[in-house]
Symmetry: C2
Subunit: 139 residues, 2 copies
């Protein structure tokens, strides 16, 4: 899914900068206006969850320093931890080479998963035995 | 995006197992039959890239032990490193709490990014200065 804008950034040398708003304007949002966001614990480097943002959620997250996704089920902003208290402070945000994914490193308060497990990827494939193992208790 | 199948898994205790094929059958694929896949270096824990798999690509990756995505631009299997040699050996695969994302930990040979940078997330937001900084040389 290459596009000219991101293709041209490829040739820039280390530490070169470009305007943030230009990059955001060229991100590849899907038909629903959303882009996938990977959220990683900045200290443990565990991948905590994957969710979605629209352009406004990206801008809100950057301006407020707290992770705000777009809830596809409720069709509204979803500021992580607003009800649970398990907030995510944004530390770093990056975009990928073809502008269709966002990586955010965060300081996670409490468990990231709504099941109260530390992260959402708690269903681990046991390939040898053709099983999936639950990792961690519900809390 | 909750569904009954994954909702019921939530209550299982630590180390309980369920059949792999049942979980795969209930994964949430989008209208194009694809699910987002996050690929992480198993040693450094860096997030290397995000791409997509269909059900057949998940099964191929598990049976062959090498990451095979579905190329949305070429509309065909995309076994990572087939042309570049920069293959990804699958070490761990996990699914998230609502079955709509896959996390794979890999042994990455060479750079993960087609730009020859170590990973695809080389466009880092400098929030304070409203810029995006290129991280790493093209190689």
């Amino acid at each position: 899914m290459y596009q000219k804008f991101f293709r041209e950034l490829e040739d820039l040398p280390d530490k070169e900068t470009v305007p943030l708003n230009e990059v955001i304007d060229h991100l590849v949002f899907n038909d629903s206006g959303l882009i996938p966001v990977i959220t990683q614990d900045v200290e443990t480097k565990d991948v905590l969850m994957m969710a979605w943002m629209n352009k406004a959620a990206i801008e809100k997250t950057l301006s407020e320093g707290r992770m705000t996704y777009w809830s596809r089920s409720r069709n509204e902003f979803w500021t992580k931890g607003e009800s649970s208290g398990n907030t995510q402070e944004l530390i770093n945000m990056s975009f990928d080479c073809d502008g269709d994914a966002v990586l955010c490193q965060v300081n996670q308060s409490g468990p990231a998963c709504h099941t109260l497990r530390p992260n959402c990827f708690y269903l681990k494939v046991d390939n040898k035995n053709n099983r999936v193992t639950v990792i961690g208790n519900r809390g």
